[in-house]
Symmetry: C2
Subunit: 281 residues, 2 copies
């Protein structure tokens, strides 16, 4: 039984006759292949990555498992359409809090078409990408049964300043993620989610070590998804904090050079999260 | 007694009636203050940096010591002109080999004037800056008494491809830094210059650790200068390998964000040098 995922925080969304991702009960996430070249590009990445023996297991787990392509009834009602079948790391969770950070101060690659470069450069300058090395593309933070999720709308998120971004990273791990700017986020889940040997910071540092060495791929316009389950923490269990890289429509070959653009942005994200962990300890 | 330094590998050069840096016998390097705002900008940086107590000593030594400003007879014969008085870390050496690497895939800062941004972006795309995260701005490598220095001309260096850059970093530590492309650089000084606990790689890694944390300054269009003395190695003494950051006309405030642009490029340089050390071990 296919349905539209309700946890999505960024990217094309299905519903209202639009083409977007679908999920099923077996833990799969189906992403329609965009037909402007991006789809085939992303498929080529998943095919290449999933069989590349140079990727260590402790890094591979930061990427969704790829199950090939499936022809499914598209969400826009246009009939059978090719989809990437991927591991769904979010929908299987209970009230997952999710943050999508698009990494890199530059979302375009040197060989891209000129009009694409101009479009990306404009957006990189209008958002925090250029100054901060990444931008938040979306987030939703679970409050409780009454309040449900705090989910700022897309336009609001795209207008985030550096200070808004810092605040969003604090709200993401707070019990009071209100839109009310008078309420200071308490960061009460910072140590459970960001900190500790299995926390998000530790995972990001592992990813960083790999990016200091790997020269196989350059990841443009790729996001780090951060997920955890608040109720799991409140019940004294593991936070389920996990990072996943997503969106590979603009991955190019590294040709022996490290992905300094992704690495720089990743280090900036790490610094901001590290500051939160330190100040909440 | 002021004279024109002969070790300079990049930047404005004095001589032929042009305004450029001067040196004296007391180990000072005098850099004329550029009068388009860059000069006062660089002066402001040195003034601020030299009194900033947040800079640890093991990082401060990577920057030239600043001795204030001096009014000196300009090299272009135009009379008295203000100069920055800096530590000269090169001229006091015997036949120093020098490499200047301008760090960062982006040499422009977000607040710069639009025409300046366009000019920089063009040059970043034409050189290796964009793809590699840095570009070699100049180098000279000492051969021996007969051959003197191998110093590719400025135009040739600006046209370096990524492969040329990799090769230049190998030639920089080779006993046969010939322009003849058939001769493979032997990298015989790689371990003495790049490697070891006091080598250039170790120094770059210390600098990297600081850049992962520091949010005080963002260094645009700034270079890492690498220097060593070949004859010192051949005589069984220390290589004198040293890095110095130079050119601070485009340093801006960090405002709580790390310099991900510099850090990414620095990591790319580190990877290339690390590859040379590993393959020469």
């Amino acid at each position: 039984m296919l349905k539209v995922p309700d946890h999505q925080v960024a990217g094309h969304q299905a519903g209202d006759g639009k083409l977007g991702p679908l999920i099923d009960d077996s833990g799969h996430f189906y992403k329609p292949l965009q037909n402007d070249g991006r789809g085939s590009h992303e498929l080529a990445f998943y095919t290449s990555f999933s069989t590349d023996t140079r990727i260590p297991d402790h890094i591979r787990k930061f990427f969704p498992v790829f199950y090939g392509t499936r022809h499914l009834e598209a969400s826009d009602g246009s009939g059978l359409y090719p989809h990437l079948a991927l591991e769904d790391t979010v929908s299987s969770r209970i009230n997952p809090s999710v943050l999508d950070a698009k990494i890199g101060s530059r979302t375009w690659y040197p060989q891209a078409a000129e009009d694409y470069i101009i479009k990306c450069l404009k957006k990189d300058r209008e958002t925090t990408s250029l100054e901060l090395g990444f931008r938040v593309s979306g987030l939703r933070v679970y409050g409780n049964k009454e309040t449900g999720f705090w989910k700022p709308d897309k336009k609001c998120v795209l207008n985030f300043s550096i200070e808004d971004t810092r605040l969003a990273l604090r709200k993401f791990v707070s019990s009071n993620p209100s839109t009310d700017s008078d309420i200071k986020p308490d960061c009460s889940f910072a140590s459970a989610v960001y900190g500790g040997p299995a926390g998000i910071l530790a995972q990001l540092l592992k990813l960083k070590s790999w990016f200091e060495e790997q020269t196989i791929f350059h990841f443009y316009s790729c996001s780090v998804l951060m997920v955890y389950e608040k109720e799991s923490i409140l019940q004294g269990r593991n936070s389920g904090a996990e990072i996943k890289l997503v969106d590979f429509a603009h991955v190019i070959e590294g040709k022996g050079v490290i992905d300094h653009n992704f690495l720089g942005g990743l280090c900036s994200l790490i610094k901001l999260i590290s500051d939160i962990v330190t100040s909440s300890a």
